[in-house]
Amino acid sequence: MATNNGLNASELRDSLQKLATREGIRSWDLGAACSDDCSVQVDRGEAKQLKASQRSSITVRVWNNDGLVGITSTTDLSDPGLEQALVGAHEASRFGNPDDIPHFSPLAKAPLPELNRPLKERRGILPLLETLREAEADLLSRHPSIQTVPYNGLAESLSQSLYLNSDGALREMQRTQASLYLYARAEETGRKPRSGGALRLGLGSAELDIAGCVDEAVVRTVSHLAYQPIETGTYNVCFTPEAFLSLLGAFSSMFNARSVLDGVSLSKRESIDESLAVPFLSLHDDGLHPGHISAAAFDGEGTPTNNLCLIDRGKLKSFLHSEATARAFNVKPTGHAGLGAKVSVGPDWFVLSTSEGCSSGNNLDQSTEKDTFVLIEDLSALHAGVKATQGSFSLPFDGWLVKGGERISVEAATVAGDIRTVLNSILHLETNCEITHRGVSPHVWVEGLSITGEA
């Protein structure tokens, strides 16, 4: 079913239908993925590890005669593997939850949006190695304090995914993707080592902005060499687009209908149309955005991806939905589902902006502001320092104390707060929106956050 050329949807469907008929299963669906990847790492000009993989997997979901759902995943796409998965799913269906039965998405056969993501030629591992060697050498030559690039990698992949169901839905998608990351380490005599890095994504390795990645990694690393401790206290904070999107992403359960139904979201069913943020803030989840390299035209249930408004003028307008949560809320699924016995829901690509026709009343600009503030470039340890169910966070960060326009790199500090307070304490969203690998956002100014340093 999976060959060197990828998955064969028709063969998969025929095989599964035959097995399902034999087992007396009338309704089933299937998600499958297949990928062919390679990546390289270097260490001071020498190839360190070269990697390649061919992976395939399927997830089969079946409805038994009582209407209950079971699911099984396998990496074995042979006929015996498929049989094992189908029989396993049938057995698991005995444990299906009668109070929360997923159905096929009503949009699983709806037209898909156009996605302009042409497949790019893969160059192969040895050209990747040469490119990465050159990038590393370039980076190492830029500053005497940069002696290693301990985390680096250049990768390219071809992946295929599909969704099928016994009702005749068939979704299929192929994409290529490439990534480059360079995280350098710099050290000066008698001072602590500092690090910084950059990441670039592209549809193919030939179109990656390698020079831009090197430049950014150098600037980020070198700019932190002259660090100083920061005094513990309360500061106005400006988040870079990447930092704010990572914070928002850690609290995405606010927008997640599954989390709302499960009682683990800060939002409730009745939160729609309530004020969640300052009125000049709008937030969309736009999985089709041209800057989203990994865009997919459909989700795990086959529902088309679309541009969904989550916050308009500070008010919560919609949740992210699977088929089951959409049915519970009497709305349409939004194209954010996985595939499971209990279907997960997640965001695709946040786009944060100033609401049309609204103003913060401020004109703050992190590049020219003279009053003291903290510029947060990157947040760490979100998996540990965020309490999504409580709204609180306490996170280490990389950034600067900016005084009179002068930037002083901050040594070892944390920022703490509550996401609801943050969203309602936003002073200003700068004009220029940046496309990052996490989404789109301007620099975001927030009033009065707790910063803890060593001083």
């Binding site: 999976a2 260490d43 020498e46 190839a47 360190k48 590890q49 070269l50 990697k51 390649a52 993989s53 061919q54 992976r55 997997s57 699911i71 099984t72 995943s73 396998t74 074995d76 396993g88 799913a89 057995e91 698991a92 444990f95 939850n97 109070d99 929360d100 002696q147 290693t148 301990p150 985390y151 995280y183 380490r185 080592p193 500092r194 690090s195 513990t232 499960d262 009682g263 683990v264 499971g340 016995a341 760490s380 340890a381 998996h383 540990a384 320092g385 309490k387 169910t389 609180s392 306490s394 280490p396 070892a412 500090a413 944390t414 920022v415 703490a416 707060g417 707790s450 803890t452 060593e454």
Partner: protein, 470 residues
Amino acid sequence: MTDVFSNQWRDLLETLLNRGARAGSDLVEVFLERTNHVGVLAEQDQITSVNPSFAKGAGLRVFLGGRDGFVSTNDLSQEGLTRALDQALAMLGLEVQSLSSSADRFNGLNSLIDHGDTKNDWLNRCPTLVSASQRLLEGTSELDRIGQHLQVRRGSYSRDWQEVLVAASDGTFARDIRLHQSTGLSVLAADGDHRSSVGRRYGSTDRPDDLLQWNVETSAAEVCQSAGTMLRAEYVDAGQMPVVLANRFGGVIFHEACGHLLETTQIERGTTPFADQVGSLIAHPSVTAVDEGLSGGSFGSLSMDDEGMEPQRTVLIKDGVLQRFISDRAGELRTGHQRTGSGRRQSHAYAAASRMRNTFIAAGPHKPKDLLASVDRGLYCKAMGGGSVGPTGQFNFSVEEGYLIEDGQLTKPVKGATLIGDAKEVMPRISMCADDLELAAGFCGSVSGSVFVTVGQPHIKVDSITVGGR
């Protein structure tokens, strides 16, 4: 070829290894894997998700000089494995067309060392879905019985069964069956604007009947007590202060602050300050630290590592002096530190790397109350969350359940604390170790994926550390 890994694979594996040797590689390693996983989730008083999954695959690694090429595949046919091997060889510029006649580079596989021969029935001895579901529902029911203000009650069970076969052109030929099970309870308590979320996980290795032995009442009581205490806790006042860390999962401080920096992968990357410090005092003389794969039933225990080597007990630090590093095959090749049976990987999709197993600070002479009594004003960390360490040795981890220490006594509970620091500075500040060493199960994510580990320690006192909060 049979699915079950056995001596029947010898001929095929020898053919592959001979092919790799004749192409001019220094060493070829083949890792075969089959897994059978199930996850069960109970919410409130219902089973809401049962997720079985099966996987099989191979990871093939070829060494040449200081480099290695690694290819993973789900295709275990002879054609699939040969294709993967040839791809790995080609990465290093080795071509099968130029096969040399140097057959002496590979002298055949040794006799199979089968660590799994007494474990073949373990999968069948594990709890059925019915009994696992029933146990979880007992757990959520007990939470309901004793908890207050509980908005969400969850129980989860995970069973990971794995069969592996490792063969390498140095003759290594070994098989094992691993069984990891974990059970967790978690709650979200809510009362008006006050909220607390608390979870605890219990894990074991190689104990098929572990779930049946699970003490539901004790686990539920621990979770409910913590959630109740933290529900109205105030945010911690941030700053520099002395900290006492509880035993068991408090060991995450050593895991993050120092353990990762003693893996040879960190020497290879140039990211450990301890690279040339063997024999030097790097921690307070009260600190002795060990990493081993031998503690019976502990989550990080192994019969063999993922390179086929039996694990050693590795004393990392003795009385504050660095003794040695945790090393795998590539680490030994590239850094000269001898292998310690620490080559670990999440699955066939990852090349093995030097990774911690059961890692702990050894017990000291003090009583826990002595540590508290020595602090005028500080923080007691009873339960820890996750943590991480960066490329400069800066570590951080969150405190799930904390209390103020005032005049040597525990006083009010506090929340929202994050500890940050630098290994080189913090290790000398661990000045007191108590006599109550205990281990706790966890997962560690790093270069070779997520692996089962235990962390552990007795109660310890850190003289000064940065506590982030509000």
